[in-house]
Amino acid sequence: MTMRALRRYITLYETWAPAHQENRRRLAMLHAPAVMPVRSETQGRRPTGEDKDVCQLPETVLLARGARVVLTKNQGRGKLTCYGLNNGAIGTLIAVLYKQGEGPTAEPATGRVVGFPEAVVVDFPHYSGPAWDPAHPTWVPVPVNEGFDRLKGHGRKGLPLRLGYATVVHKAQGMSIGDGKPIERLRLCLANSVNMEASNLGLLYVALSRVEKFMHLVLVDAVDQRRVLYVNQHPSMPGRHAEERRLQALSAATVAAALERDLDYAALLREHVCWMRRRPAAVAAY
């Protein structure tokens, strides 16, 4: 049995509620033989954010073989990001691992799965670190993570994964969409009003600039003309322009000073790249 082919497009929304709905809809389309909801354990204050994340760990994650998932947290305290295990990495769920003799147990009253698996194996196509399974070098076991936010007074234990068929524009920052990328096409669902742009200047730009080519993008609904033109009149725009002018002046001064001191930025950059290339070896030795 080969898994049904997954669509490699992502839908971006402005808020989490429709994104969750789309994720569940696409998961249902997968016709997975079993879907297991794994609920995180939260201590302390109730989270207030719209996505209910605590320490970058979602409240619940739906697991199903073949489902597209996104890492919500850098792994290995950031030391594995150079291997491609960074917040936002996209992969396909392969298996859920339990200790021998253990397995998912359900609460009799609610039927809700309690307890955690030991790890979840995810195929991250861009993973370049040591292979856990030499037959599948991009398969990575992702363990349950724990974190506590002292400032907000709450902590959470859970899987750092979320379904990756849809997300919000804020979370898509840094994502590139195009041929040969983990996600090849973008479906954009923007509100037909100026409200979101008013409270989040640059949202439209972030959403549109994810694609490498215009043909990689489709809009689900029409965007109000007022919204596009509102960007020009946003109250923060003059401040942004002033800041950009300040940075341009600083940059010109920095480059001029560097030229005076014979500082070669290209050499510094080369040195940095060499350091980055050596870094995986240093991390592996850790």
């Binding site: 080969t2 392969i94 859920v96 998912p104 856990w132 215009f214």
Partner: protein, 120 residues
């Protein structure tokens, strides 16, 4: 905290602006200039019109079929093959901060593999 962070940011005097967009290639000059106008607050009615041209309802049936049928890299999760593919004896690999795992042994449920306790 926000004010402290902002003050630290403002205290930097060495600054180099990176002004080349790497995501959109040079062949996408039109998209690049449109994005720049939207970013800098100089969007035009033409930009809006062009954006509307990307509406799902305005695309051809063939384009949309192609759009939605970009298939994922084939992931074969055949139960028999998954078991066969496992090397024996099992490979133990420890990721930092990750539990020690053995390659899966028999399938426990349809989607759940067993994990043997590993003396390391």
């Amino acid at each position: 905290m926000y004010a402290t962070g902002f003050n630290v940011y403002r205290s930097f005097n060495d600054c180099v602006l990176l002004d080349e967009t790497m995501r959109q290639g040079r062949e996408e000059a039109e998209l690049l200039s449109q994005l720049l106008r939207i970013r800098t607050g100089h969007a035009t009615q033409g930009d809006w019109q062009q954006l509307l041209g990307r509406l799902e309802s305005r695309q051809t049936e063939g384009f949309m079929r192609e759009f939605y049928s970009r298939s994922n890299r084939a992931v074969c999760l055949d139960r028999a093959r998954a078991t066969r593919a496992r090397p024996c004896p099992c490979i133990v690999y420890a990721h930092m901060d990750m539990v020690y795992l053995l390659a899966p042994t028999p399938l426990y449920m349809d989607m759940v593999y067993l994990l043997a306790p590993t003396p390391l």
